[in-house]
Symmetry: C2
Amino acid sequence: CPCPLPRGDCSLSRLLRLLLSARRSLEICLFAFSSPQLGRAVQLLHRRGVRVRVVTDARYMGLHGSQIGLLRRAGIPVRHEQETGYMHHKFAIVDGRVLITGSLNWTTQAIQSNRENVLVVEDAEYVKPFLDEFERIWEEYNPRQLQIF
Amino acid sequence: CPCPLPRGDCSLSRLLRLLLSARRSLEICLFAFSSPQLGRAVQLLHRRGVRVRVVTDARYMGLHGSQIGLLRRAGIPVRHEQETGYMHHKFAIVDGRVLITGSLNWTTQAIQSNRENVLVVEDAEYVKPFLDEFERIWEEYNPRQLQIF
């Protein structure tokens, strides 16, 4: 990265720029989402009229610092799993066209301190299976499908 | 996946097949590695003369069920971080040519129960940065570079 920022800030700024390029839709499928900067960017897109949908893991979303409650209160639809396994994906899709995926959860710890990778891919061959997986999960985690224990 | 196995077993068998296709080298860069089947496959490749190198996270590798100790005892070189952040990658590179990356740690829980993604990529454009990152980490975690506290 040729920019003069420290590595974590540089990665964050690239990710923010990419997200803020969304004009129509943003699918977010994240095990953990606690970065305030990324949370604000997602809320901004929502206010701009971009269709934002979020899928996340039930165990992490209740933790201190999670952005999920704020996104929900802002009116963004969020669905979460209720299974025994983790919803462990870490990807987002901008305008149905650009896939952002890798090891990175959207947390300040991960952005600033971890060794992580983020792939940005526009080939439909790679994007399509992730879009399909998002729609599958979105339906599977539909609250109408949730069982009451 | 058209195979008749349950999803987790099918994913595992595809991953095993891909790994066992290695003829020359296998770089493994994993936050968590506890799957006994994948551990046995990696040991088999090592015995066949494939050059195996492993990078992992120090906190996870001591946990019960981790394969890292077994790999080390089999003579496979393993390096780990000693930083404050996590070594959170989840990728492997077969013969310097095929990149396997995604959200999946090589654990039975993840393979059997989680929602995960694994990308298999052969385009050099994507493989090269991961190879470079592996070599960077490999040098950075060289025991000769470790500080004694």
